[in-house]
Amino acid sequence: MPRWGMVFDLKRCIGCNACTIACKQENTTPDRVLWTKTVSEEIGTYPNVTRAYIPLICNHCEDAPCERVCPTKATYTREDGIVMVDENKCIGCGACATACPYKNRYKLHQEQFDRGLYRSGQLTPFEKQGYGRFVAGTTVKCTFCHERVDAGLEPACVITCPTEARIFGDLDNPSSKARRIIQARKGYQPLAQHNTKPKVFYVE
């Protein structure tokens, strides 16, 4: 059984957010819900200044605080390590969102579905075909594109990334590209001090 994880190559990422939009296309997440995104940070003072582009996503932690605090066991970890939320069990209490040190969970509100992406109340056929998967009032997050992964495909954000800054793979397989990059370029986990054992790594 693989243990899926993702590596972000900060040297490659240009902060274009193609990933952000590919995720929204793939998952029909409603307005203002971003399961992944890249943010930027200015570093230094003129003229010795640069900008870092940092991709963010659910880290699918091994020791996931969101899962620990969920009163209904709606949040669970699949055998392959993907952390999921069962919308039929989620009661929208928000404990998981509070517990997540990375703030990568979103609670859905009916208003988001009513207003639509154009914030006009006019839903596009695209939205209509996709919103059925969601239950207003529940909490959602990145699923590592679990259905694509089950079909042997890579997540939508990974395949679209123009600079190949996202590397998806089996962290337990020493010959996977993800594992090799973590080894070779000394990958580190985000906010490691929280001890949640993220399955997401960054290399510089």
């Binding site: 190559d9 240009i14 590919a22 154009y118 594109c145 123009p162 190949e164």
Partner: protein, 861 residues
């Protein structure tokens, strides 16, 4: 758990091949359509060696453009006769029959009265042949937009003269030292950005290619580069001259290349023209071994002199290289440092690094052919070249590359064709005296001289230029001064937003628009310009229509097919159908077919030629373009999606082998003198205002007039785009506006903390930029990533429509800060100035309703 997939790409349905049109380029795509017929995912096509299955953020938005509720859903007729930026047009839907009746009647009237009375703004880059439709309209050559000029007025003709191509890029497959000067190539903009970003990232990370970025604002490329060198705006030429100074004085140039592959050895006489042998008019060179001048092709030449002064036929002549060397005496790194603010030692170090990385003397074998290998290249684009002296500037950048011998050479700086049309067709041709034939006109044939002028933007006087549409601002508001014997009263806007894209006085643009008797617009959503129309005709979306295109790829080539993935959602038509119908109604269909033949290159395979009397739709044209490229039927393209391969190396590398490149562009002087003579003969009254100094065979360090504005305008204002708004701007799409408005560089007017503090400005304050030509308002965004003398205005802040649901209207358009006049127009290329001098003042601290306040400033005096 239900068993139906919830992820869009996993749902039951089919994948259809297509080509992206979210910018003007042509990434290859796969479009997923569900069993119910809904487009629910667009991905890159992994079979493409160009974008390799990847897409930029804009490409990822294609389906929202298709389903945009703001799309024009049927032909529209205006009911409010009053026109203005605040007027509600009072649109009412009408039938196509009624729309064509009106448009046909009005355009026929114009055609019969005087075809020059039509102002076209046709800017669909993937259907470039449409740009030629006005030629069918009584040889109309007006141009009411600056698409092509804003970014590349000086750029395109210079590429045409140096490489015989429309664009140019560094060779990402082999380059080891990449300079980006005022350009987003490989990171945020320009040619095939998803593809370029991929090749660039691989070159940087896997091959360790070094990137040096020179620009006033820390762009994405600047942030990713090994080194960001901030520079004062509009001084990029002086920076490049500083590099040339070091390369020449320290003899860090490719002697063999200059002697064998360029005209740098041709002797130039005192009048600036090449010295020509009396008996046969051949250009001459100096043979230092035999100590005498010889014809350039004399078989007895033992060596070529690059330097020296020689007495030949009673006059003193110098090799072109010596002239440039003499010019460089005034361009010491110290002097160039004062102008550019780049430290002297940085100019010297970069020049030496560049020359070392170029590995002068090395060779490489590619596809069995041994060639020079020069893996260092100077790349540039709009920000660096978009200035009054655009020709000099572009030429200077080419010379940096020529000195190290990297033009069209593996690892170097390489010409990119707009559209080869046919896989076996080369793009170069031999010219005079062993030189490459200069091809400055890459978009349309040259417009001949005429006085009184036949074109409202004075293209009659730019024998080397790209249409300077911005000059409409002064000609149409003062026609007597320019001697017009007609005045336009009709406008045709097709996939263009001229009011937004053209610089100059806003009130004058509005005045010009108000004078139009009739405006017809063709587009998919309305914009700042098309809301002035009398009739609007809805075009199909990309995902509903056919097209075949191959637009300026760099290291790849091959036609790309667009095909309908679903039936039309609304009562729209393809551009081909619209122009055919109009053409038929006004009696120019046969001419239009002839012109399409010419522009699409169909005569190269005569069986593909359009016949008179027939109307060819979007599929017919696409099919023919595919057949012209590689003889493959459209069904093959429907299956494959594209014919994209790596560019054939015989066309990509040194296609001009055996010809000499134009180091010294005497052709510019020839065209200058011909124009001068024509203007004298015709007694053109404004000929004394023509800046003849813009026509030079070699560049020099003269300052652009923007630096000479009154001192109270003590800062520079620049505008920029990024990958999310590359080329066409798509803020009307919520996914784009979502990511753009969250990005600090698009949240306000960028200003350095020192400049802000000196003016009492804090982050978030409302500030005003006032130039000698106009003003705009916005929120201050204080950032370290900008030159202290510069403010940066994202293109995302420049819209003023308020009927697009998710656009935040800005407090004015950057282009209003720019001049539209002859003084700031390159008399050689038509390039406009794209940098403004401004004073920056605080209006007030940030109000609670900041967006509303900023928007209200658009109309405020």
């Amino acid at each position: 758990m239900n068993n139906h997939p919830v992820q869009n790409s996993m749902k039951e349905g089919k994948w259809v091949t297509s080509t992206c049109k979210m910018c003007l380029h042509s990434c290859n795509t796969l479009v997923h359509v569900t069993r119910e017929g809904i487009v629910n995912k667009v991905e890159g096509n992994p079979s493409s060696v160009s974008n390799k299955g990847r897409l930029c953020p804009k490409g990822n938005c294609a389906l929202l453009r298709l389903y945009d509720p703001q799309r024009i859903k049927s032909p529209l007729k205006r009911t409010n006769p009053k026109k203005g930026p605040k007027e509600d047009p009072g649109w009412v839907p009408i039938s196509w029959e009624e729309a064509f009746d009106i448009v046909g009647r009005e355009l026929k009237k114009t055609l019969q009265e005087d075809p020059r009375k039509l102002l076209p703004a046709i800017n669909d880059f993937q259907k470039l042949f449409l740009w030629a439709w006005p030629a069918a309209f009584g040889m109309n050559a007006n141009y009411f937009t600056v698409v092509g000029t804003y970014c590349g007025g000086g750029y395109h003709p210079m590429n045409g003269m140096v490489h015989s191509t429309f664009a140019a890029a560094n060779d990402v497959d082999y380059c080891n030292y990449w300079m980006n000067v005022g350009s987003g190539d490989g990171f945020s903009s320009h040619l095939h950005v998803a593809s370029a970003a991929n090749y660039m990232a691989n070159a940087r990370v896997e091959r360790g290619m070094r990137v040096v970025v020179v620009e006033p604002r820390l762009s994405i490329g600047g942030a990713k580069a090994e080194e960001w060198i901030p520079i004062r705006p509009a001084t990029d030429r002086q920076f490049a001259l500083g590099l040339c100074h070091v390369l020449v004085k320290e003899k860090l140039y490719d002697v063999e290349f200059l002697k064998k592959d360029t005209n740098a050895v041709y002797l130039v006489g005192p009048n600036g023209y090449f010295l020509r042998r009396k008996e046969d008019n051949k250009c001459m060179v100096w043979d230092p071994v035999d100590q005498k001048a010889k014809a350039w092709d004399d078989e007895s030449i033992k060596d070529y002199a690059l330097e020296g002064n020689y007495r030949v036929d009673g006059v003193t002549a110098r090799p072109a290289f010596q002239i440039f060397k003499d010019t460089l005496n005034d361009c010491t790194p110290e002097k160039m440092s004062e102008i550019t603010t780049v430290p002297t030692e940085t100019i010297e170090r970069i020049a030496r690094e560049f020359a070392t990385a170029a590995q002068i003397g090395s060779t490489i074998r590619i596809d069995g052919r041994s060639m020079p290998f020069r893996p260092a290249a100077f790349n540039y684009y709009r920000g660096a070249q978009g200035h009054k002296n655009g020709s000099l500037t572009n030429h200077c950048f080419k010379l940096v590359n020529m000195l190290v011998g990297n033009i069209d050479t593996p690892g170097g700086h390489i010409g990119c064709t707009l559209d080869d049309q046919w896989v076996d067709k080369g793009h170069v041709a031999p010219g005079d005296d062993g030189m490459l034939k200069p091809m400055p006109h890459q978009l349309h044939p040259e417009i001949p001289f005429a006085y009184p002028p036949n074109t409202t933007h004075l293209q009659d006087y730019f024998p080397l230029g790209v249409d300077p549409g911005h000059l409409n601002n002064i000609t149409l508001t003062n026609p007597e001064r320019f001697g017009f014997n007609f005045y336009p009263d009709t406008m045709l806007i097709c996939h263009s937003n001229p009011l937004w894209n053209m610089p100059g006085d806003q009130a004058k643009w509005f005045e010009i628009m108000r004078k139009m008797r009739f405006i017809v617009a063709i587009d998919i959503v309305l914009n700042e310009s098309t809301v002035w129309a009398d009739v609007v005709l809805p075009a199909d979306d990309t995902l509903e229509s056919w097209n075949m295109t191959m637009i300026e790829p760099t290291n790849t080539e091959g036609m790309c097919l667009r095909q309908p993935v679903i039936p039309r959602l609304y009562d729209s038509k393809s551009e081909e159908e619209i122009f055919n119908e109009i053409s038929e109604r006004i009696g120019i269909l046969d001419v239009w077919n002839q012109i399409q033949n010419f522009v699409c290159g169909f005569p190269q395979k005569p069986e593909l030629m359009l016949e008179p009397g027939k109307k060819y739709n979007d599929r017919d044209i696409a099919e023919r373009k595919g057949l012209l490229w590689n003889d493959k039927p459209i069904e093959w393209y429907q299956e494959q999606g594209h014919a994209v391969t790596k560019r054939r190396s015989d066309k990509w590398y040194r296609p001009w082998e055996g010809m000499r490149l134009h180091f010294y562009i005497e052709y510019i002087l020839q065209r200058r003198d011909e124009l001068k003579e024509n203007m004298e003969k015709a007694d053109v009254p404004f000929r004394h205002e023509w800046s003849w100094g813009d026509y030079q065979a070699l560049p020099d360090a003269r300052l652009d007039p923007v630096h000479q504005e009154p001192r109270e305008y003590d800062m520079y204002a620049i505008t920029f785009k990024d990958i999310q708004i590359n080329f066409t701007e798509n803020l009307s799409i919520p996914w784009i506006s979502d990511i753009v408005y969250k990005d600090p560089v698009h949240m306000g007017i960028l200003i350095n903390p020192k400049a802000a503090a000196a003016r009492g400005i804090q982050n978030g304050d409302v500030i005003r930029l006032t130039s000698p030509y106009g003003k705009i308002t916005g929120l201050a965004k204080v950032t370290e990533g900008i030159h202290p003398e510069t403010v940066g205005v994202s293109n995302a802040l420049t819209r003023w429509v308020d009927y697009h649901m998710v656009i935040k209207p800005g407090g004015g358009n950057f282009n209003r800060l720019l001049p539209a006049d002859l003084r700031n127009t390159d008399a050689c290329s038509g390039q406009m100035e794209t940098v403004a001098r401004v004073k920056v003042t605080k209006v007030r601290s940030r109000p609670a309703n900041a967006d509303e306040f900023i928007k209200s400033q658009f109309y405020a005096d």
